[in-house]
């Protein structure tokens, strides 16, 4: 005898419905926890961003309403030139680094699809930078780019006079040094993801295309790239998001300097938080960036889905 037989007919529901509701009830505590973890900090941030509260004000954060300033933080934000130039600088770094990392990674991955002697060793060396802790990488490049450092020594081999460029104290060169470091550290990730994509391109389709008279470049454009589209999008998305948050290597190498020459969004927020201690304003910046980024991400996803 099944349960349905002993229940009154009016209470009968399809079994699948019951199962779904039971499942919802059973996972409810976990769902609430996740919701709390995700939503609570956002709400707290929104609350603080509407006040002039700071940890030095003597009140704990729930009492921040005492420093209520309506939307003053948000209107300050619009006229904050330092913020806008930090944002511009971050976007500039993304626009230069991510394409270079992508092209280098794709080129290397193309080489690694075929076998060659010493491939395994080359492979290990190639992905090593990714394993280096970013702070350590920052110190490595900090030392490499010293005016008496190895970079200048190597350049000196090609010039009649010894080179003594002060890389990290020059406004433009510091930015170059920081971007070189980022490219060094993150090209391997691009390489790995794109290699996985390249290996997944069916070889008989490439052969079929070749037999139909397609040149290597035509095969790359008509077979390899369309087949790898998803992987390429994922690789680019990961790097754009990560690069937007660039901090550790950069902060150790230049601390955002000289002046504000290498100050990115993360470095700026860090400085406002730890040096200026105006937390209400920091919360407003962070929330504004989150909203803008979310809108951007949704827009990009919709475009790509088409």
């Amino acid at each position: 005898m099944t349960i349905a037989e002993v229940q009154p007919l009016s209470k009968l529901k399809p079994a699948r419905d019951d199962g779904a509701r039971l499942g919802f009830r059973l996972t409810l505590p976990a769902q609430l926890l996740v919701l709390f973890i995700a939503v609570f900090p956002l709400l707290m941030q929104l609350y603080i961003s509407l006040t002039d509260w700071s940890p030095l004000s003597g009140a704990s954060w729930p009492q921040a309403w005492q420093f209520w300033n309506s939307f003053a933080n948000y209107s300050d934000l619009i006229s904050d030139n330092r913020l806008w130039s930090a944002l511009g600088r971050t976007l500039f770094i993304i626009a230069i680094c991510v394409p270079i990392e992508f092209l280098l990674g794709l080129g290397l991955a193309t080489l690694f699809v075929d076998d060659f002697p010493g491939k395994r060793v080359a492979y290990s060396i190639l992905i090593a930078p990714m394993m280096v802790v970013p702070a350590v990488a920052g110190y490595m490049f900090f030392m490499l780019f010293q005016s008496g450092g190895p970079v200048n020594d190597i350049l000196s081999w090609f010039t009649p006079d010894p080179v003594a460029i002060a890389w990290l104290s020059d406004r433009h060169l510091a930015l170059v040094a920081v971007m070189v470091t980022d490219i060094w550290q993150w090209t391997p990730l691009m390489f790995l993801i794109l290699l996985a994509g390249l290996v997944g391109v069916p070889s008989d389709q490439l052969k079929a295309a070749a037999l139909l008279g397609a040149s290597p470049w035509q095969r790359f454009r008509t077979i390899v790239i369309p087949r790898m589209k998803t992987i390429i999008i994922i690789a680019l998305a990961i790097r754009v998001i990560e690069c937007f948050k660039i901090f550790d290597t950069l902060f150790i190498m230049t601390g955002g300097g000289p002046g504000v020459a290498t100050e990115t969004i993360s470095v700026y927020i860090y400085k406002v938080t730890t040096n200026d201690l105006i937390w209400g304003y920091v919360a407003a910046i962070a929330l504004a960036i989150l909203i803008v980024l979310s809108i951007g991400a949704v827009w990009a996803m919709k475009r790509l889905a088409r």
């Binding site: 069916p202 389709q205 079929a208 295309a209 070749a210 037999l211 139909l212 008279g213 008509t222 369309p226």
Partner: protein, 363 residues
């Protein structure tokens, strides 16, 4: 000129020899089937013709042109892959006109030739559908059309029908043959299915273990197999083969088949060929070429083990497990139970050298 000539082709993969000194001439407009069990080197031969593999030794000529070093894209051969290799991220039209687009033909010509090919293969209604998710039978036509639209003088097909269902295979066999008649290309067709080879090919090249065993028309290969491998491989079921000693009987020269008894006397022509044997011979006859012996007629007396009725024909399994004989009769034939007396048609008996396996040719 689209004749193909393979000269002393050798292909080694490391220590493994896939192809041992292959010589083969395929004439212009001929339909040649490369037939053999898996691993016999037929696909390797095909890949070398297409340029996907480089031979370790030897040359490939198309007409008088040496193509050995020519890369695969410049050989102008059509190739149909076993798994079709359809570009699933494109539409049917983009697949069909791929080669024309890549080689930079004028737009009007591309459209005209693509539409004509789609019409011929019955793909017109599907032209704007994505190739992803189409049935195997459609993909198969598309794969053939994609190569055929380039109008190659040489068309290579690598087991193109092994993935499609049996009913469609029968249709495609006739279609492929009529396509080839229409375009007069030289076709090389790799298969392990002798039915495909027998029905479509002008000539069959039978291969085994990287060695070309015999080249001939389907009937030549069936009637006068060059050796015991071809005899056993061609025909369904293959030829009955038993090793025995030549013995002189009252009625003439015969073969002592040991446990199966002494064979009926050999026909005079076969007997004269038998004289060329050094030592033991292999006595062979086709399962289809036997009759039930009349009383008094010389015959092999064999116990009947199993009867397979497959519609028009009945296959009998006779003899002992060590020496199994198969015989095929029309299904109407009355088959007595117990011991059957079987007489191979004297003219259909083939003798092979027991040592080399080569046929002892009837002069």
């Amino acid at each position: 000129m689209s004749a193909i000539k393979l000269e002393h082709l050798v292909k080694r993969f490391g220590a493994f020899t896939a192809l041992k000194t292959m010589d083969l001439s395929i004439t212009d407009g001929e339909f040649m089937a490369l037939l053999g069990p898996s691993g016999c080197g037929k696909s390797t031969t095909m890949n070398i013709i297409a340029g996907m593999e480089t031979p370790t030794e030897g040359r490939i000529l198309f007409g008088d042109r040496d193509m050995t070093g020519v890369p695969m894209g410049r050989r102008g051969v059509g190739f149909v892959f076993q798994n079709f290799a359809i570009f699933t991220h494109m539409t049917v039209r983009r697949n069909l006109d791929y080669g024309l687009r890549m080689t930079g033909r004028p737009t009007a010509e591309i459209a005209r030739r693509t539409n004509a090919m789609a019409e011929l293969l019955g793909l017109t209604a599907l032209l704007d559908r994505p190739a992803q998710g189409l049935s195997v039978n459609i993909l198969q036509r598309l794969a053939i059309g994609r190569s055929a639209v380039m109008e190659p003088a040489i068309f290579l097909l690598d087991e193109p029908l092994s993935n499609v269902d049996a009913a469609f295979r029968a249709v495609m066999r006739t279609e492929l043959k009529s396509l080839q008649r229409q375009f007069r290309q030289t076709m090389v067709y790799v298969t392990h299915d002798q039915l495909e080879a027998m029905t479509m090919a002008d000539r069959i090249a039978v291969m085994d273990h990287g060695v070309l065993q015999q080249v001939g028309t389907p009937l030549e290969v069936y009637n006068t197999p060059a050796n015991t491998f071809v005899a056993r491989f061609i025909g369904s079921p293959g030829m009955n083969l038993f090793t025995g000693k030549l013995t002189q009987t009252d009625a003439g020269l015969a073969v002592d088949l040991g446990p199966l008894g002494i064979s009926p006397p050999l026909a005079p022509a076969t007997a004269s060929a038998a004289k060329r044997a050094n030592g033991d011979v292999v006595y062979g006859f086709r399962p289809e070429e036997v009759t039930l012996a009349q009383p008094g007629e010389p015959a092999l007396a064999l116990p009947l083990n199993l009867t397979e009725r497959i519609g028009a024909r009945t296959i009998l399994h006779l003899g002992t497990p060590q020496a199994e004989v198969r015989a095929v009769f029309q299904s109407g034939t009355a088959i007595p139970a117990g011991i059957l007396r079987l007489a191979p048609a004297p003219a259909a008996v083939r003798l092979f050298d027991a040592g080399s396996g080569a046929a002892l040719q009837v002069a």
